[in-house]
């Protein structure tokens, strides 16, 4: 009887652990929602492009822990761009939230990054303007105002490391060319929940 109980326990445990691992894996590798970014630099925006340089804008949620990985990858890109790109970090401030809520650890991290301009995005209007739905969403526009890249620069939620999005951005800022212009975004949702319209995963935050 005891052996049976132990055997059943082991089986249940193995199943539970496998389920859990799969859940972790699924969570980490499920991208957030995305929207279409304007192909040409929009006119009415807080972000002011620098003449003669490409402009990189990252939209982040100030309380999203996964965004630390996106900022880390941004730092990697900037370290390799040697000033070839003007970088902006736009921090979400939803309606009704205080400035302190926005000035989080993530804000501080971005503020301390060299050659990065941090601006507050009241009620997410800037994000909506550039079609950003998920924290860490990054867009790159050429000095001429043409969209070069839109998407995420991490492989999974909160994971630092090699990934296609970062490599494409790096290639753009270094060579002006890339093998693609988009990548999945992994992070918290920038906007309050609303019915899914594009088939994105429910659990993407």
């Amino acid at each position: 009887m005891t052996r049976l109980v132990i055997g059943l326990g082991i089986l249940a445990w193995v199943a539970g652990v496998a389920w859990g691992l799969q859940k972790i894996q699924t969570y980490a590798s499920t991208p957030g929602r995305t929207a279409v970014a304007p192909a040409v630099w929009p006119g009415s925006t807080l972000v002011a492009p620098v003449a003669g340089r490409d402009t990189l804008v990252m939209f982040i949620h100030p309380q999203c822990s996964c965004t630390r990985a996106s900022l880390a990858e941004l730092q990697t890109i900037l370290d390799s761009s040697h000033g070839a790109v003007a970088a902006w970090v736009v921090v979400l401030k939803p309606h009704g939230m205080s400035d302190d809520w926005t000035h989080s650890e993530t804000w501080d991290t971005a503020s301390h990054m060299a050659n990065v301009t941090v601006v507050m995005d009241d009620e997410g209007s800037e994000a909506q303007l550039f079609g950003a739905e998920t924290s860490g969403h990054t867009v790159v526009y050429s000095a001429a105002g043409q969209l070069l890249f839109t998407g995420g620069i991490t492989r999974a939620r909160g994971h630092v490391g090699d990934n296609i999005g970062r490599d494409r951005v790096l290639s753009l800022v270094q060579t002006g060319n890339a093998d693609g212009d988009t990548h999945e975004v992994f992070g918290c949702g920038l906007h309050d929940p609303h019915p899914r319209v594009d088939g994105a995963a429910d659990d993407a935050t």
Binding site: I6, G20, I24, Y27, H61, L92, S135, H159, V160, T205
Partner: protein
């Protein structure tokens, strides 16, 4: 171990016990490591929850938050990871399944941590640390499933999501092998350590088993030896009890023998008193030559019988250890003269010469028991005369060692020209009841006790008695004595003691009496001494009465102690002669009663002299203790009566007594000691 293990059976016992100890120690080790992992798993779980709460407590969508999946993973998945190993640790500690599960769970924790940190190289150390921790089990089998878990996790992740374990998008194909290789390297090290520790613990178990078995063997031996000792002690105690009982029985038998001898002596002396006494009286009457010879033979036979009785008494006292010596100054030369005088008639009768030679410097007096020395010398000279048919007997007195301020040593040697002693019989000479030749007894008489008693007496006085003899040539017997020289102060003390003593010599007693009781002497012309005799034996009554009347006394007779008390109180007696053993009231009780009446009534003290067949020294002491003034042992002669009674009568009355009748020379019967054997 070889010193203790001596056979196959013991070897098997040691091996079996070592297995038990090893299993027990392994179980302890496994259980304790299980408990350590229990705390580690709980700590990891708690750490994961705290970390998730700090780093990523919430997930956000705009301003809407929800519990972050990391937090849920930490709480629930961490709990799930821990659930089975902790349950097994609590329910089945030490079980191999438990520790294998623990190893797998620990490796899963490593995989999750590595995944969540994006394959940070630092997080990989959790794998190595966990494997090292698993080595605490000292069971290399635990490392295998743990390693397989790590390898599988890495392989699957490298296949599906390489960045989560390698940190790069496209790792080289051998990165998995590299990671697994390092783990395998650590595994090899840990397996070797486990095997070595296992062997070490095995040896320790064997050593402990050997010690236990050796210890149990020693304990068993100690227990057996203790039981043996207890048995021996009990046996020894039983033997001691037996010996004690045997000694008590022997002492009782000895006492019974002593009492028997004393009684026999008493019973024999009483009729012998009549035989010898009336023989002496008969010799004082007109007899023809033949009648006189017959009577003298009767008297000699009686005296010989008394000597035998005295020897037996002495011997019984020697055996009972009751023989004592009284050291007083005496002159051995005078004693030798007395002995010669005493035994001269026998020597003359056999045509022998007896001489005394005194060496230069021989002390005139020294301190020893003169009575005992006289007894020994009498025995030696008597024997010399007895066993010498012609020739001479020589007594030589020499000072063999002079020690100023200490004890001198004197020697007295008696040599004869007698028959000598055969060499093969000489060793029997000092044995009791033995003579050199059985035929000797027939020829010369004697009990064979004399020399044995003499040697005991001399040894009692600290001396030695020995002899040399040549058959047909003669014998030499000698004894040496350590003696104290006499000093003037000693003489003064002894004289005063003698004056105060009831045993003082007649002359001394007279002087003492005159000095102490001047009023006792009668003013009017003295009447004959009036004596009361308490005696139950009719023969002895008649004998004593006849002797006293011969001595000039007037005599009243009492048949027992009570009558003696009545007459003593009513009459005016100058002296009472008291037999000790009488019916109804014995002499001791009667004396005590008379003394009590005298004291209460303020009456004058009547001298009481014991006349008893109880011849032991303690009998005399007992008599004096109850209030008697003198002591005479049976058989008694008329001369002894005269001498002793004169001590206690007033000088005037003493002078009235008739001098002793003329009688044939005969050895004086000593009060206690016998003569030659």
């Amino acid at each position: 171990m070889k010193r203790f293990v001596r056979d196959d059976q013991t070897l098997r016992q040691v091996a079996a016990r070592a297995d038990e100890i090893y299993a027990r120690e392994s179980q302890v080790q496994h259980s304790s490591t299980d408990r350590a992992f229990l705390w580690l798993l709980l700590a990891q779980w708690a750490f994961a929850i705290v970390l998730a709460a700090v780093v990523s407590p919430f997930a956000w969508e705009g301003k809407t938050r929800s519990i972050h999946l990391h937090m849920q993973i930490a709480v629930f998945f961490g709990g799930l990871l821990n659930a089975l190993p902790i349950a097994l640790i609590l329910m089945r500690p030490g079980w191999i399944g438990t520790r294998i599960t623990v190893g797998i769970a620990q490796m899963l924790w490593s995989g999750v941590l590595i995944h969540l940190t994006g394959g940070r190289i630092e997080t990989h150390f959790h794998v190595f640390g966990s494997l090292a921790f698993l080595a605490f089990y000292r069971d290399w089998r635990v490392l295998i499933p743990a390693t397989v878990t790590v390898a599988a996790d890495h392989y699957l992740r490298s296949y599906f999501w390489p960045e989560s374990v390698f940190g790069v998008l496209q790792p080289e194909w051998w990165r998995v092998l590299e990671h697994v290789g390092w783990v395998a390297f650590e595994d090899v090290v840990l397996v070797l350590a486990c095997v070595r520790e296992t062997k070490l613990f095995r040896r320790l178990a064997e050593r402990e088993a050997t010690l236990e078995i050796a210890h149990s063997g020693v304990e068993r031996q100690v227990e057996e030896r203790t039981q043996q000792l207890e048995s021996e002690v009990a046996e020894r105690r039983a033997r001691e009890d037996d010996l004690r009982e045997a000694r008590h029985a022997a002492e009782a038998a000895s006492n019974a023998k002593t009492v028997f001898l004393a009684n026999m002596s008493h019973e024999i002396r009483t009729p012998m008193n009549g035989v010898v006494g009336f023989t002496n009286l008969l010799l004082d009457t007109p007899l023809d030559a033949e009648q006189r010879e017959h009577v003298q033979i009767i008297r000699q036979s009686g005296e010989t019988l008394l000597n035998i009785i005295n020897d037996i008494l002495d011997f019984s006292k020697v055996e009972a250890g009751k023989l004592s010596v009284e050291n007083r100054p005496f002159d051995l030369r005078a004693v030798a003269q007395q002995v010669v005088s005493l035994l001269s008639p026998q020597a003359v009768q056999k045509g022998l010469y007896i001489d005394i030679r005194v060496g230069d410097g021989f002390p005139e007096q020294f301190v020893a028991d003169g009575g005992r020395v006289r007894q020994v010398l009498l025995n030696l000279v008597g024997n010399a005369i007895k066993f010498t048919l012609h020739g001479r007997v020589l007594i030589e007195l020499d000072l063999v060692q002079a020690s100023p301020g200490g004890k001198d040593v004197v020697r007295c040697m008696v040599s004869d020209t007698g028959i000598g002693i055969a060499h093969d019989k000489q060793s029997l000479l000092f044995q009791e009841f033995s003579q050199a030749d059985a035929s000797t007894t027939k020829l010369f008489g004697g009990t064979g006790l004399g020399l044995a008693i003499s040697r005991r007496l001399i040894e009692l006085m600290g001396g030695l008695l020995d002899f040399s003899s040549e058959p047909g040539v003669g014998s030499r017997f000698w004894f040496t004595l350590p003696v104290l020289p006499v000093t003037e102060s000693m003489i003064d003390t002894i004289v005063l003691e003698d004056l105060a003593s009831p045993n003082a010599a007649p002359g001394d007693a007279v002087v003492a009496t005159l000095l102490e009781t001047p009023a006792r002497g009668p003013q009017a012309p003295p009447s004959p001494p009036h004596v009361l005799v308490a005696e139950d034996n009719v023969v002895n009554q008649r004998l004593v009465k006849r002797m006293l009347e011969n001595l000039g006394y007037t005599v009243d007779m009492a048949n027992d102690g009570a009558q003696a008390v009545t007459l003593a109180v009513a009459g005016q007696y100058d002296l009472i002669i008291m037999d000790c053993s009488m019916p109804e009231m014995d002499g001791y009780q009667a004396t005590g009663e008379i003394r009590r009446i005298e004291q209460e009534g303020g009456l004058p003290h009547i001298p009481i002299v014991a006349l008893t067949a109880n011849a032991l020294r303690e009998d005399r002491e007992k008599c004096l203790a109850v209030g008697m003034d003198g002591y005479l042992s049976k058989p008694v002669t008329q001369e002894q009566l005269r001498t002793v009674l004169a001590e206690f009568l007033s000088p005037q009355k003493a002078l009235l007594t008739t001098p002793p009748s003329t009688r044939n020379a005969a050895p004086v019967v000593a009060e206690e000691s016998g003569l030659a054997t």
